[in-house]
């Protein structure tokens, strides 16, 4: 007979090991999935995880993409992890990402064609504010009325998507675009473009911001009283109340910050890699970031690594699509599977598995 015995606190060893175990198991299960789709499993796994980095033919193109894709994932996941630690579930980052992109691009297009250094900082500010405001809607409703933030933040994703469609067909549409939906391309507007800081590396201002945010989040969680309150509220809400933690403040801070970071991610994306506001601007970073946050154990450094890994599956997935004809959806299922295995293996972090020999009563 096997019995689970609750650990007084999560095992540090298992907390660090489970993500690695989960990735390995997902590779095996993914291989089985790919084999069922009629692809060579070993070749598929190699194409996804190895070729983008080390195959001479693709690496020149793929390596910079790693940072381009990881940047927004890390930025969004860091914000989400603050809330997840405190038991505040913002799952509408996709909507906040869209809101930030629309606000940032809106500022840029309002100044067009002014050529001044002030344009880009203003866009960054607008992007962060847009995402923050979108994230504060569920926060204020939760504080004032006790509304469930999971459902509200998610509903707002669908609202944001419709708003995005309306913007790219209406207000923000390129007046010289011959009636096609979509805004002006910000890449062609030097004062607003989010360019690579070091050419050929994929390192743009958004990636830089993501790295800075990792450090800031680490300091906040380990060296600041607010970070302590966040961790306390997640581990023991009752103790947190005795310690004088204000739940409304925490809700506003966590949802507002994660909204602002998701908004920033959206702004850097629209001014950089995507270039323009269009109907299909959002590609699901806000949802994948949930997986990144958990895979990174809600820890800033872990999230950095998890973001890079998840970016790799995106790039490798595209490569596998191109080389082996693997459907794009297979990667999405693969990423979902990863989260399953991670959550399943977590039982070892929180519980001790004991073999029990049946005793005579």
């Amino acid at each position: 007979m096997i019995r689970l015995e609750k650990r007084p606190e999560p095992s540090r060893f298992w907390t660090a090991v489970t993500p690695v175990l989960a990735v390995l198991t997902t590779m095996i299960a993914g291989g089985v999935l790919f084999a069922m789709l009629g692809k060579d499993p070993l070749e598929s796994i190699r194409t996804i995880f190895w070729d983008p980095l080390f195959n001479a033919q693709f690496a020149d193109f793929a390596r910079p993409q790693l940072l381009v894709k990881a940047g927004p994932l890390i930025l969004i996941a860091l914000g989400l992890s603050l809330g997840f630690r405190a038991g505040i579930w913002n799952i509408g980052a996709e909507g906040q990402y869209i809101a930030g992109a629309i606000c940032g691009a809106g500022v840029a297009l309002a100044f067009y064609p002014l050529d001044s250094w002030i344009v880009f900082p203003l866009m960054v500010l607008a992007g962060a504010l847009g995402g923050w405001a979108w994230g504060m809607i569920p926060a204020l409703l939760k504080i004032r009325f006790g509304t469930n933030e999971i459902l509200v933040s998610l509903m707002l994703v669908y609202v944001a998507e419709q708003f995005l469609a309306s913007m790219s067909l209406g207000l923000l549409r390129n007046p010289e675009g011959h009636g096609f939906p979509g805004s002006r391309n910000l890449q062609e507007y030097p004062a607003a473009a989010n360019t690579e800081i070091i050419a050929g590396t994929g390192m743009h201002w958004g990636v830089m911001t993501a790295f800075l945010a990792v450090i800031a989040a680490y300091v906040l969680l380990n060296r600041h009283i607010l970070g302590f309150h966040i961790r306390l509220a997640g581990q023991s809400p009752r103790a947190a109340r005795f310690a004088g933690v204000s739940p409304p403040l925490l809700v506003a801070f966590c949802l507002g910050t994660s909204g602002a970071l998701a908004g920033l991610a959206g702004l850097f994306e629209v001014a950089g890699p995507a270039g323009q506001i269009s109907i299909d601007f959002n590609v699901g970073y806000g949802f994948t970031a949930i997986i990144v946050a958990f895979l990174g154990r809600l820890h800033p450094v872990g999230i950095l690594l998890a973001g890079l890994l998840m970016a790799l599956t995106y790039i490798g997935g595209e490569l596998a699509q191109f080389m082996l004809g693997l459907p794009a959806a297979a990667i999405q299922a693969f990423q979902g599977m990863l989260l399953f295995f991670l959550l399943g293996f977590d039982v070892f972090s929180n519980y001790r598995v004991r073999r029990v020999t049946s005793e005579v009563a």
Binding site: L151, V152, V159, Q162, S166, Q332, L343
Partner: protein, 310 residues
């Protein structure tokens, strides 16, 4: 704009069709939550049911087999959630989200090659005598069999929770799993059965979208219906008859919004399409504003993991 183009009779009749998927998913989730489990994977189970049902119906030519496959597909996916949360004691919120993300990917993978196909039509049942009634006959008694089955299901769940011993045990598990365990009820087994029922219902709801309401297969076609179903359970304050009310209310909003689009009202299409989501938020706010009542009705053990520490 031509509002006279909207026929109120057709509106009410299509309201029932629009509400049925949400109704099926919500009544399943109600049972799950009554057992004390919060499964946020409704959207994922619905979309999986949608493609399982669609693919099976197209391959076999039988919508009935399609719905059976959707039933099984939704239940199978929910079993993953059940095992993870009940046996491996994972966080229910996180696992539910994982279920939705995985379901969306899996369904789009399974749906390759099924876009642009028309499914076999689902049989309508014209209830004898009643269907010939003027006005009411056309609105209420000329639907396909799934609409009637969903109504029977709501009645069944209501009676089960209220009048049967098994229903009482299920509610006890949801209110206090420790007390139920002490009384000798198998908490984990009961919860997994409830989760399976919820998954099967969500699967049926999804298949109704792909086989009857749209009827077609496109990626991500449930577009938030599963989340609206979750909101309806809150709206209904965990009572079966009010799930019916909530689902039909939302069906009404969805249909009215589509009709206004067709009638060419001056509001842009995008803003009309936001309506169901905005109204969901509004309803959630109204329901949770009355804190004492909302807290009284929610099952006390909702979302908490059960671990028998002997």
């Amino acid at each position: 704009m031509d509002l006279s183009a909207i026929n109120p009779l057709v509106l009410v009749a299509s309201l029932m069709v629009a509400a049925t998927p949400i109704l099926l998913a919500a009544i399943g989730e109600l049972v799950v939550e009554k057992a004390g489990v919060l499964n946020l994977g409704v959207e994922g189970m619905m979309i999986t049911g949608a493609i399982c049902g669609f693919a099976t119906a197209v391959e076999t030519g039988s919508p009935l087999l399609g719905f059976l496959a959707a039933f099984a597909g939704g239940a199978a996916l929910s079993l993953v959630f059940g095992v993870l949360t009940q046996v491996f004691l994972s966080n229910q919120v996180a696992t539910g989200l994982a279920l939705t993300l995985f379901g969306l990917g899996l369904s789009s993978l399974m749906g390759q090659g099924y876009t642009g196909i028309k499914p076999p039509p689902t049989a309508r049942i014209e209830i004898p005598v009643l269907a010939d009634l003027p006005v009411v006959g056309r609105i209420l008694f000329q639907h396909d069999w799934v609409v009637y089955a969903s109504l029977l299901l709501v009645a069944g769940v209501w009676a089960f929770l209220r009048y049967t011993r098994a229903g009482l045990v299920l509610r006890a598990v949801g209110e206090s799993h420790d007390a139920a365990h002490a009384l000798g009820y198998k908490v984990v087994r009961i919860r997994i059965l409830a989760i399976l029922f919820g998954g099967a219902c969500a699967g049926l709801g999804g298949a109704y979208i792909s086989l009857v309401r749209v009827p077609q297969w496109t990626d991500g076609m449930t577009s938030g219906a599963g989340w609206i179903a979750l909101a309806i359970v809150v709206f209904a304050s965990w009572k079966a008859p009010r799930v019916l009310l909530g689902a039909y209310l939302f069906g009404g909003v969805a249909v009215l919004q589509l009709n206004l689009q067709a009638a060419g009202i001056a509001i842009p299409v995008e803003y009309l399409s936001m309506a169901p989501y905005l109204i969901t938020i509004l309803v959630l706010v109204i329901m949770s504003a009355d804190r004492s009542r909302a807290a009284l009705n929610a099952p006390a053990s909702l979302g908490r993991s059960f671990h028998a520490s002997s």
